[in-house]
């Protein structure tokens, strides 16, 4: 599984970072970026999905097959 934050859509709600801090980092302005090239370890897949569903901007996409 891979995740990606669409930078243009992120408005810095920080919800992804709070629910899945292992998968995202925040820059100084609070915008989120995926870490480790977006690769999601198997044990964090559920958290990755929660990051997607909690984002009010629909800024995070998930690719289950990569």
């Amino acid at each position: 599984m891979r995740i990606k934050v669409e930078v243009a859509k992120c408005e810095g709600h920080n919800r992804c970072f709070v629910v899945a801090g292992e998968l995202f980092e925040l820059d100084d302005s609070g915008y989120a970026h995926e870490v480790n090239d977006g690769k999601v370890p198997a044990d964090l897949e559920e958290k990755a999905r929660l990051a997607v569903t909690n984002c009010p901007e629909l800024a995070i996409s998930i690719d289950e097959d990569k």
Partner: protein, 413 residues
């Protein structure tokens, strides 16, 4: 937009879809059934009251309107349109306040840089610097009433917190916190439907902040005002004009106080009636993070406004240039199309993309600060007062309009 003062029509509302009144006492106290009815019957309602406005109530409409910043401008985010101030106040105000309250009252491109200036000071990491002093503040407030067995959770507690935290960030003596509260209520609460009262309150805030800015220009310190005066960011004028700093400080003071106090107050009101939730938060303290999000969703305090920049039809509604749109984020957060069991407070709700802080480019810049204050206020209260209840549910009073929250909320313990 009309410059005629809006008439305070007092006749009761018969049809909420075509004649809603956001200041109706029953609505302020319990708006939820009205939102349910509107979402079903007429998801974008209209009224001529208070200068006229449209009011979307579904999550999807709020998201779409917030995203379209070209048609839906933020040039005047106040929810009531009650005309221009009397000439004398108006001229002075205009001169002092020519830039508005950026970035909340700005559209791109000014919005872009004025927001970029602020965001680094409101990151999770930055607001954590104020957590310990917020805890101490909460403890000292509780010390003041814990032995009495009774307190007003709104006036003695919630209301006292944000004004002192924002004063600390701005480097302003906390003794002025009481003044800030009075001024902000004058501007956003009592003054929302009285333009002269509102302008007078704005003048007090602006004169005070002007003095503070001059003081920081002479003696810079480690505070937000000094930071703004020296900040640089892409696209921004260098230096940032003091009028702009004044507008932004005005925003920080006005937007940082009664919004957060209303959230804390609503949380206390909820907890006072739900001992099981108190017990859960005490037994499972790690739930506080999702609990804060859930309380924000269920009791979202803030409605902002947009203005239509050109005639446009939206969802079948013939909107005209300068029409006002009330961004009913609180109603969106109770939309059953988006949230499972929207009227239930579920402290560990897993899927909660609420838009209590707005959505799109105007997402509340202070959201992390508000979250920190709510978390600390709830945690510190429950440590000392794990069991409490409303003294008299009927005696609780609410403010509404721009910002909804309890103003009197006596509890016993």
């Amino acid at each position: 937009m009309t410059t005629e003062p809006a008439k305070a029509r007092t006749e009761p509302v018969k049809d909420w879809a075509t004649d809603y009144d956001i200041f109706d006492a029953g609505y302020v106290k319990d708006p939820f059934p009205v939102w349910d009815e509107l979402r079903e019957k007429c998801p974008v309602a209209h009224t001529e009251r208070w200068g006229g406005s449209w009011m979307p109530t579904t999550y999807e409409d709020l998201r779409k309107i917030a995203a379209n910043v070209e048609i839906f401008s933020s040039r005047n985010p106040l929810v009531a349109n009650d005309g221009e101030p009397t000439e004398e106040v108006g001229a002075e105000l205009e001169e002092q306040f020519s830039v508005g309250a950026p970035p909340i009252s700005s559209d791109p491109p000014i919005h872009t840089w004025s927001r970029a200036l602020l965001l680094p000071k409101f990151s999770i990491k930055e607001v954590a610097r104020y957590e310990e002093e917020t805890r101490e503040l909460c403890r000292s407030l509780i010390d003041g009433f814990v032995d009495k067995g009774r307190a007003d959770a709104a006036a003695d507690y919630a209301q006292q917190i944000p004004s002192r935290v924002i004063a600390s960030m701005l480097g302003i003596p906390q003794e002025r916190a009481g003044d800030f509260t009075d001024w902000v209520r004058g501007f956003l609460e009592y003054g929302l439907t009285n333009v002269d009262l509102r302008s007078g309150a704005a003048m007090q805030i602006l004169s005070f902040l002007n003095e503070q800015i001059q003081e920081r220009q002479a003696n810079p310190g480690d505070d937000l005002i000094s930071y703004l005066l020296e900040a640089k960011t892409e696209g921004a004028p260098d230096p940032i004009p003091p009028t702009h700093v004044l507008g932004t400080c005005f925003l920080l003071l006005v937007a940082g106080i009664d919004t957060t106090w209303s959230s804390i107050g609503s949380a206390m009101w909820h907890l006072a009636q739900n001992p099981d939730d108190c017990k859960r938060l005490i037994d499972e303290p790690e739930l506080i993070t999702s609990a804060v999000e859930e309380l924000l969703r269920a009791y979202s305090p803030v409605t902002m406004a947009r203005e239509v920049t050109r005639d446009a039809e939206y969802n079948g509604c013939p909107m005209q240039e300068n029409d006002k749109i009330l961004m009913n984020f609180p109603a969106a957060n109770r939309d059953p199309a988006k949230f499972d069991k929207p009227d239930e407070v579920i402290l560990d709700r897993e899927v909660n993309p609420h838009i209590a802080f707005g959505v799109g480019i105007h997402r509340c810049a202070g959201s992390n600060l508000a979250r920190m204050e709510m978390k600390v206020a709830i945690e510190e209260w429950l440590k000392r007062i794990p069991e409490f209840r409303l003294e008299d549910p009927e005696a609780v009073t609410w403010a509404g309009g721009q910002v909804r929250g309890p103003r009197k909320c006596a509890v016993v313990f």
